[in-house]
């Protein structure tokens, strides 16, 4: 699964945009440490693609506009866009995003990670697997899979 020819040998690489907090209005200042989409994006933009020497940000797999936050209900919704609709790495990418957020966010947050609607041929299956916490827990007890995830989320 992780060797041999690349599925998408020449992915489009995007310029990494300057990150600014310009259009983000300050949220309720009385609430405890509210998060915004930019902060969540900062957590996942440096995740490495499993097969290319680029980050999820550089491949436009992760985008700030695909992150939604409901601080009141402590829920975070992250979409990601695989570079090709048959990408077999999608589950691994989603798992890496999930693990990175699990380790970076306070425990009170509920996180949904899903592929951007219409961006993957097996959208429902990928989403169902990624949001089944028992499968995620079992996958993360698998040492070889965990190592692959660690490689993805380790900053270069």
């Amino acid at each position: 699964m992780f060797s041999g020819e690349l599925e998408n040998p020449n992915p489009t690489v995007y310029e990494v945009a300057q990150l600014k907090r310009d259009d983000l209005s300050l949220e309720d200042e009385d609430s405890i440490d509210p998060f915004d989409a930019l902060e969540i994006f900062e957590m996942i933009r440096t995740i490495n693609d499993p097969e290319h020497p680029f980050t999820l940000e550089q491949l436009n797999v992760a985008q700030r506009d695909l992150i939604k936050i409901d601080n009141e209900n402590n829920s975070i919704f992250v979409n990601f866009t695989p570079t090709i609709p048959h990408c077999s790495m999608s589950t691994l990418i989603g798992l890496s995003i999930r693990v990175k957020l699990l380790r970076s966010l306070p425990k009170r947050f509920k996180v949904d990670v899903k592929v951007t609607p219409g961006s993957h041929a097996s959208e429902l299956q990928v989403n169902k697997q990624l949001n089944d916490k028992e499968r995620v827990a079992a996958a993360l007890e698998n040492q070889s899979l965990l190592q692959v995830v660690e490689r993805c989320i380790r900053p270069k």
């Binding site: 425990k107 009170r108 509920k110 169902k128 949001n131 089944d132 916490k133 028992e134 499968r135 827990a137 079992a138 007890e141």
Partner: protein
Amino acid sequence: NMSLSLISSLEGHEDRVWHCSWSPDGKHLATCGADRSVRIWGLESENNWVCVGSIDSAHQRTVRQVAWSPDSRYIATASFDATVLIWERTSSGFENVATLEGHDNEVKSVAWSRSGLLATCGRDKSVWVWEADSDDVDTEYQCLAVLTEHTQDVKMVRWHPQQDVLASCSYDDSIKLWVDQDDEWYCVGTLTSHTSTVWGIAFNSDGTMLASCSDDLSVKIWRPTAISAQGQPLWTNVCTLSGYHTRTIYSVDWSPSADVLATGGADDTIRIFAITPADRTISAGDEGKQVSGELVLSVPHAHASDINAVAWNPKQDNLLASVSDDGLVKIWSYKP
């Protein structure tokens, strides 16, 4: 003045607690989780629940579920390490007396029937039925059947409270019922109505109703509404409770003394539903079989994270246990 009040919040597990199970005599609660341990909780004095035993490093990986034998003498543990272990309660603790091997990978559930049969299920999409074969010295467990009709991993197995009827639920969104006829186990019903993973199932105390809970955010009640040509009850969905839980519902359990359900899930909330009417007869025809359910109580923030299991004490009326990703085991008193 209905209420669910907290009696005890029990610390001890070092990670997510996945499951809890009361001993049939109602005296002990067993819990298990990602810290690979099993803990046993008992009453020290009035309303004072304490840890009275534990099995540390019971398995190589997460202990997903724990079940008691009908005589409260043994517990069975199902683990992601692909094994099921049987432990005997001795004066000095718990002793591993048998190992059930056969599943390809994660075992997700184990259940003991009233007659002493064991059922297990897991990620390999199969349901196994086991029988204890004892002589004076040893007990060995023989596999009676490997049932492979689910198309995805099987999340939970539960036995009917009186008969050797087994129910299983799955990531394939279905529930299946299994019986033994002439030493052959086969599927007598596939219950489809849920639109996502069915995480939990529970029979009520007399076995006339089955409740299920799902990632589709609904709880469903199933009853036998007809008899098949082979003489088997045909179960159909007679009630759907939706619009309450806002995230995946992981657990459902019937009160032993009333048609009352407790549910828990990823919205950190425990809910209590009253189910009516309670017409117990099984006969052909749909008339009078419709059931209605009403939310009677909702406890938001019952835990600080996902609630993975809720279970009513089988003997002490209105005592409910819950376990969570927050690592806590809680005991509640329900006043109807």
